[in-house]
């Protein structure tokens, strides 16, 4: 079992880069996957209906759909596989930074997805060859579709965890925490979006065909139009409900005004889609196709902005923490430079002590006067030059004088304790001023 555990921790900039990169990749990948899922599902449904009703226009529509959504192998590669591997990389890096999720798990999801692609390709070429399909071919298509949906469900589960970083430590202990309500809601939300978008695209293509008028029967166009319109309407009515569930299942730390406003924008855009469907119900150029597709692009953008803002909120303090650590490392170049100067080691002993003193101690201590803690010229001589005793105190401070607040445990590394102890003893001995 391999793990991602021994990767370097992320820097704050890399975190932000990964996060925005993720949403950029999703912007191209999800619509592609959506058309594939929506189109194949509809094609299979039409195949079934066509056989029931013995109506060849259903079968023809089913065929045309598959031809459109699985245009070419290179599109599958560019919009399907490459982005997916990138998304996997981000998940592995951000989510499972220190989590021992086994690689077979990831390989398994990828395998399911690849077999989905392969089965659907098979279905598409069989669909293209004949109007009448054997049940076997239809079953191949259905299996491909199910594989795709399963892979997308697992993807959504991981995506859901992205919004709840508090779950990461739990995930390290038990893999079942991979599933969350938020993940399920994201899955349903995107599925509704996929079908709505596919319906919109069907309306658009239907309008185009009407313009071209290449021997397409009015009956066929009517069927396509009806299907596209009903699918879009249904999906658009359902999508906002899942969006509200998303607001309920997101951890409260991930919410913010932006998240609510972008949700409201999605609701208004969905309303606009419904109104467009009713107001422009012509089949020709004046049809709703182009408008609906445009509105769906806006809905998709708003959903991605909603998610991007939520992830940003959820990771806010982690990213700030990393940035602080980086700032601290930058402000202290001595820490890394020190091993490179072995020359004056003996002398740097007290110099290093001085550095530590100014960084850590000087906030509360002076040699000559009381600040927060006592003047060092008063307390250090009590150790009588015994560095070990002083070091023991620095490691584990105890309250000595009730007039002062207790000194916190500093948690310094041993060499810094050693350096500062020697520096204090030296300085107090030689007159007590640095």
């Amino acid at each position: 079992m391999a793990s991602w555990g021994n990767l370097q921790p992320l820097s704050s900039e890399f975190y932000s880069l990964l996060r925005h990169g993720l949403f950029l990749v999703l912007f191209f990948h999800l619509p592609f996957l959506g058309f594939l899922i929506g189109g194949s599902a509809l094609s299979l449904l039409l195949n079934f209906l066509g056989k029931e009703k013995r109506d060849s226009s259903y079968l023809r529509f089913s065929q045309e759909l598959m031809r459109t959504v699985l245009m070419s192998k290179s599109a599958l590669f560019i919009f399907g596989l490459v982005p997916l591997l990138l998304v996997w990389f981000v998940f592995a890096r951000v989510l499972f930074d220190a989590s021992p999720l086994p690689w077979p798990f990831w390989a398994g999801i990828l395998g399911v997805l690849l077999s989905g692609f392969a089965l659907l390709s098979l279905y598409r070429s069989a669909r293209g060859r004949a109007m009448d399909l054997s049940p076997m071919t239809a079953a191949t298509g259905a299996a491909g579709l199910l594989a795709l949906i399963l892979a997308f469900f697992l993807f959504s589960a991981g995506y859901g965890i992205l919004f709840n970083p508090g779950k990461l430590p739990l995930l390290q202990k038990q893999i079942r925490f991979f599933l969350s309500w938020n993940g399920v809601v994201k899955f349903l939300l995107f599925l509704a979006f996929f079908f709505g978008m596919t319906g919109g695209a069907i309306l658009l293509l239907c309008g185009r065909t009407a313009e071209g008028g290449e021997g397409t029967g009015a009956e066929y166009r009517g069927l396509v139009h009806r299907f596209g319109g009903n699918l879009t309407l249904l999906a658009t009515l359902v999508l906002p409900v899942f969006l509200l569930f998303d607001l309920v299942t997101l951890p409260e730390i991930a919410l913010s005004a932006e998240v609510f406003v972008s949700s409201a924008v999605v609701l208004l855009l969905s309303l606009a889609v419904c109104l467009t469907l009713f107001l422009f119900d012509g089949k020709g150029e004046g049809g709703p196709g182009a408008r609906v597709v445009f509105l769906f692009v806006l809905i998709f953008l708003a959903i991605l902005l909603h998610d991007d803002a939520a992830v940003g909120n959820a990771y806010q303090d982690r990213i700030a923490f990393l940035a602080m650590q980086e700032a601290a490392v930058e402000a202290e170049p001595g820490k890394e430079a020190r091993p490179e100067e072995p020359a004056a080691a003996a002398q740097t002993g007290t110099d290093a002590g001085k550095v530590v003193f100014e960084k850590v101690c000087a906030g509360c201590h002076r040699f000559d006067i009381r600040v927060v803690g006592p003047p060092l010229n008063e307390v250090v001589p009590k150790y009588g030059g015994d560095a070990e005793k002083l070091k023991a105190f620095l490691r584990e401070p105890v309250k000595v004088n009730p007039d002062y607040p207790s000194m916190p445990r500093l948690g310094l590394p041993e060499e810094e304790i050693d350096a500062v102890a020697r520096y204090l003893i030296e300085t107090v001995k030689t007159g007590g001023s640095p």
Binding site: G166, K167, P169, L170, K173, Q174, F177, L237, P240, V241, L244, L247, V248, P251, E252, I253, L255, A257, F260, S263, A264, L267, L268, S270, L271, C274, L275, F278, L279, Q316, D317, R318, A320, F321, M324, V360, G363, C364, R370, V371, V372, Y404, P405, S406, P408, R409, L410, G411
Partner: protein, 174 residues
């Protein structure tokens, strides 16, 4: 004829449907704001400085965290032991000093609530090695404290399950 009557009715129904959904979204927004995940405090105490810059351990101020159910807000004496001398010219420290001199405790606004029927002990959790940040987040990055852990029952139980802590009802509901 029927179509022209039906169309406005459908449009109205759809608009009303989305209107209701928008109202629900607005309601969720208001309830999220009311829940106050980062309430204003009477004195703007910055954890950023005390935790990240000064590296004070949590129990330097929250002295009861490993010996009581409650972590406790520090007494003003603890604050004043340093702030008698440090940053005395700042507005917030002057407020603090006034409280101290008038022997008036600071009424901090609660960030984390548990209902009365839940028994929770900080001591237990600290002793079990749960890091403070697992529930409270990286407070060192917060100028104003935000609630990080959800403190819902599912949230508690998930962690208990993952860590193999007791799942018996009476563990938390005495």
């Amino acid at each position: 004829m029927t179509r022209s009557v039906r169309k406005p009715a459908i449009l109205l129904a759809v608009t009303a449907y989305f209107g209701v959904l928008l109202l629900i979204a607005a309601g969720l927004w208001v309830s999220w704001q009311r829940a106050g995940i980062a309430p204003d405090q009477p004195i703007a105490f910055p954890h950023t400085i005390h935790v990240s810059k000064l590296n004070l351990p949590c129990n330097f101020c929250h002295i009861y965290v490993d010996r009581s159910r409650h972590a406790g807000a520090p007494s003003l004496t603890t604050c004043m032991s340093c702030h008698r001398a440090i940053a005395t010219d700042r507005e917030e420290i002057k407020k603090l000093t006034r409280h101290y001199e008038e022997k008036r405790p600071v009424e901090w606004n609660r960030v984390y609530f548990l209902p009365e029927h839940v028994y929770f002990s900080h001591k237990r959790h600290v002793k079990a090695g749960v890091d403070c940040s697992e529930c409270h987040g990286k407070v060192g990055t917060m100028k104003k404290i935000r609630r990080v852990g959800a403190l819902t029952m599912g949230w508690c139980v998930s962690c208990h399950r993952a860590r193999g802590a007791p799942l018996d009802c009476t563990t938390c509901h005495k």
